[in-house]
Amino acid sequence: MIDKADQIFVLLQHWLVSFLPLALQQPAAVLLGVIGIVCVFPAIFALTTVFERKGLGRIQNRLGPNRVGPFGFMQPIADAIKSLTKEDVVPSTANGPVHFLAPVGLVVAVFMGFAVLPVGRNMVLVDMDAGLLFFFAMGASTEVSVFMAGWSSRNKYSLLGAMRAVAQMISYEVVLLLSSVAVVMITGSLSLTKIVEAQNQYTGIFPHWYIFTPWGLAGFVMYAIAATAETNRSPFDLPEGESELVAGYHTEYSGFKFALFFLGEYLAMLSISGLGTTLFLGGWSAPLSFLTFMPSWFWFFSKLMMSIFVFIWMRGTLPRLRQDQLMNFAWKFVLPFTLLDLFVTALWRFMGEGLLRWIVCSAILLAAYIIMGRVAMVRKHFGPRSYRYAE
């Protein structure tokens, strides 16, 4: 019974596919999985937009939208109707094909990332050996479409926004990759299903999630920072800051294309949270050993929604970082700390079981955090003013 609830979607897929002849069954199963992803994750996106607006409102001492539907939960439908019926304004000097293809490229690349996330036990669309690498490859492809959007609008501010966004995304991409390499080192495989299975064990009632280890906690914090920066989310949302650049690289987009950018950004946030959940929070495994009776996909989606809530919380709390502060932070603090985290992970791996490795690793990481926090982030000393004249 418990197993049935856990595997209900897999059983549904098998039952639906059994109506077809044998040759068509494999493609049909994959197609059903794709349909599932395309229906579920945009629905979560719609829910996320409402949660974000209401959550931000409550954090800011006000109500969020509460007119459409019960407590405003039908707001995404109103937003969808609005964006579909708005006039599609394309600047006359804009580069036609590139302007059109930019949101398409973004959404396609982001949707591809969902293919390797293990949403539950046996619930992965494509179980690849190099699943993690595929995910990051798709994440890297989004940068090109961001640039395309900014450049094709023939707008200085869009171009500036696009350049900043791309610079930010590249810097934090390195951090993202390095913090996941620590996980790969311990698991010994790039396959996301194997990573989750490695975390699905329990000592006593506590799970073997990687976040509960010193290197895992450091790695998770770095990963979270990099994920926030990758998806242009507050406090790293300078490229789309309304007060700085109008709307950055998606200034010149209106109507459905803007909705596609919005969708792409939020889906990227969902998929990167999903990956973080898989790598550090144990994917679909239950937090305590006696809670495994709940279905695995329930745990995955709860952890995903918790991550989304933390994203919204950070957005409501932190002020925006300036571009140079952002880049300084990436290259002078986060990247060295991540490299140190790799070293500590290696130490953990080769020190053998026991209390000693906990103490040593925690001590190294804590000391490095304090030292680097005080030393590496040196503020610029403002001397007497110097001028640079244009030649």
Binding site: A140, V144, V166, S189, L190, S386, R388
Partner: protein, 166 residues
């Protein structure tokens, strides 16, 4: 040679041709990105997962960005009105055909040189990793040194501008 191969090859060749024939430089850069994507698909169709995904990650995610940054920082988007053919294009075509012929001859000869195995060995990421730090550790370290030199050079160039002005 299956239909899939021809399709991917068509995409790659089209991207490459567009990259040299289009007028707008940024369009050319984006066409090169499509060509990179085509090569990645070729790797994937040969079941080289690691190579394919790293191709996307590095080439489309970093090299393409580098190319467009270089275009934007040096030339801007001024479009030459009368096309991009230079007067010496015939010499260029001749040299390119010569290079292509040599490369084609080398590849075709190498295909005949490799013994045809019954089954293609399945290369996992683990095997690649073992090879990298085992038999190919010297190229790995040299590449690392090269990257470090490039990073240091970039920092020095950027710093020198600010330092020179002050």
């Amino acid at each position: 040679m299956t239909v899939v191969f021809y399709l991917i090859a068509a995409i790659t060749v089209a991207g490459g041709l567009a990259a040299v024939l289009l007028k707008n430089l940024v369009h050319c850069a984006l066409a090169v990105t499509i060509a990179f994507g085509g090569i990645a698909l070729l790797f994937l169709s040969l079941d080289a997962q690691f190579a394919g995904f790293v191709q996307i990650l590095v080439y489309i995610g970093a090299v393409a960005i580098l190319i467009v940054f270089a275009i934007l920082l040096t030339r801007g988007s001024d479009v030459p009105k009368d096309g991009v053919f230079s007067p010496t294009w015939l010499t260029g075509v001749a040299i390119a055909s010569a290079v292509f012929a040599v490369m084609g001859w080398a590849i075709i000869n190498s295909v005949n040189a490799i013994p045809q195995l019954a089954a293609v060995p399945h290369v996992t990421v683990h095997d690649i990793g073992v090879a990298l730090v085992g038999s190919y550790v010297l190229p790995l370290e040299i590449v690392a040194l090269l990257l470090t030199a490039a990073t240091v050079g970039a920092v020095i160039v950027a710093m020198h501008e600010k330092g020179g002005a002050e």
